[in-house]
């Protein structure tokens, strides 16, 4: 199935355009879980990784059926080495088992054959020591990977060659200094506009049944003015929209890039959901995450109308 259809159907099934970011950090682990894990695994990398796995699995169990996708941020796991990487793998597996499409947020990009290896990391298919298909590696099993366009098409397309997997190409990001390079005048617009034109070109022959492409774009909610003009340049791209909530983007900002047919936008929130317990004085992190997601869904639903 096309990666675009996997997300579009998940939106149809759950009625939600929300994506739950799984960006665990020790400061987001509730005290009771922290103490429990320190006792069994210590407070170092092995303990952190185990706490991430337990917390993520509990979050996934309560958000299943209530969100369109989950999005683990690779950096949070990589900081804890191979133990962290194993927790990332367990998280992705748990989400897949719960029927939730997974967007791996790694912002990868490199040249040719190296880019292909990043695709194998996210989607599987790395060769084993023989040419036997049975020895090929399963990989993470993600549905989408976020990608960085700076190297051009041969840093992007090899990641999804011969697959129906998806790439969200970072186009206009939500951070304060995103304009430093992205807003620089270029061609008939800005550098971000140039990337948008490339995204439309790269994705033109990868359109799913839903009418959207497997080559999508990251378009931050914190710059709603840009989202409108970027939609004109990328009529068939799925937009992954970060920056909602904690970073300041409102529900109305987040859905600016939606197509006239009501399709094509997925809104991401991380700390706003997984860190919701911190403001409550309780340790019920999973319940707080569910409530925060329900509130986000209501906010986005109101904004769509």
């Amino acid at each position: 199935m096309h990666a675009a259809d996997a997300i579009d159907r998940s939106i149809g099934r759950t009625g939600s355009i929300a994506c739950v970011g799984l960006d665990p950090r020790p400061s987001l682990i509730p005290p009771t879980l922290r103490e429990q894990v320190i006792a069994s695994h210590g407070a170092g990398a092995a303990g952190v990784a185990e706490a991430f796995r337990i917390a993520n699995e509990a979050i996934i169990d309560v958000v299943a059926g209530r969100c369109a996708a989950v999005k683990p941020q690779t950096a949070c796991y990589e900081a804890y080495g191979s133990a962290g990487w194993a927790a990332l793998e367990a998280t992705v597996t748990h989400a897949r088992d719960a029927g939730i499409p997974v967007i791996l947020d790694g912002k990868r990009g490199d040249i040719g054959s190296t880019a292909a290896h990043y695709g194998q990391m996210a989607f599987g298919g790395a060769p084993g020591l023989t040419d036997e298909p049975d020895d090929a590696v399963e990989g993470m099993g993600a549905t989408w990977l976020t990608a960085n366009p700076y190297l051009g098409v041969d840093g992007i397309v090899p990641m999804v060659e011969d697959t129906t997997a998806g790439l969200f190409v970072i186009t206009k990001t939500s951070n304060p200094s995103s304009g430093e390079l992205q807003d620089t005048p270029s061609g008939d617009g800005t550098v971000a506009d140039t990337v948008a034109d490339l995204v439309a070109e790269w994705g033109a022959d990868r359109i799913g049944e839903c009418g959207l492409s497997d080559i999508g774009a990251v378009v931050g909610a914190t710059y709603p003015g840009h989202a409108r003009s970027l939609r004109e340049r990328m009529p068939d791209a799925f937009f992954l929209v970060p920056g909602y909530g904690a970073q300041g983007g409102t529900g109305a900002d987040a859905v600016v890039g939606m197509r006239d047919d009501g399709r094509g936008v997925l809104v991401s929130s991380s700390r706003g959901i997984t860190g919701a317990w911190q403001a409550t004085g309780t340790d019920d992190w999973a319940g707080c995450a569910r409530d925060a997601l329900d509130a986000m869904n209501r906010d986005l639903e109101a904004a769509r109308r």
Copy 2:
């Protein structure tokens, strides 16, 4: 010690401006090693990871003292999951133990606190489950990380905040489609020129004793015309130069960006060294790598004169 000084001193000590790329793939593993590992670890991810570790350690042992740095490409390891990541960690540790500075080639970049986690991955310091400094994670122990500038300064600088670690920011890459975005007219030059100006700005207050900055630039050998003008925009940046050898760049192309004082260029080769055994009909991959590196050093030495 400043990351720039670590490389500059390594160049002084070894007389080499070469960097050996450690980009292992099953096809680069010689048959005898492959069979030995299949017998002990199988042909899947665990076997591939073990073969990578053994091959890399043998290569490192013969190139130590003959090159300025080694550069593992993270994608090759990530494609094999947590087993691959553990092989990457073992490789970096072995290189450090051999006294060779390590450039981790991950081309990372993300916003704010996420970028900081990528820095922790490469250089250490991720917090444990308590605030005890003893619980903080050691990290990979690399000297430099390659970074992607597309998100702007807050996607770059948090990776090396409060450290003297180094970042090679990809500026003009060696691949065929690098011009798609990088050569687009922008400001008084191109997008790559805009990035070069940002690199110079970001690195201005991070100059080591050697007069070079810990914020360097990736400038491909396949576009020597660009290297000359990029050096004018980044007078104090270390250049990491890929594209020599297998990708078509000559020794003369590779050293175009060298400063008048003979400093500031590091030339990388991967397959040309670690895959040299394939053209010889022997299985002595480590000996062939040493000979290929010696030939590269002679070529670069001639080009510098």
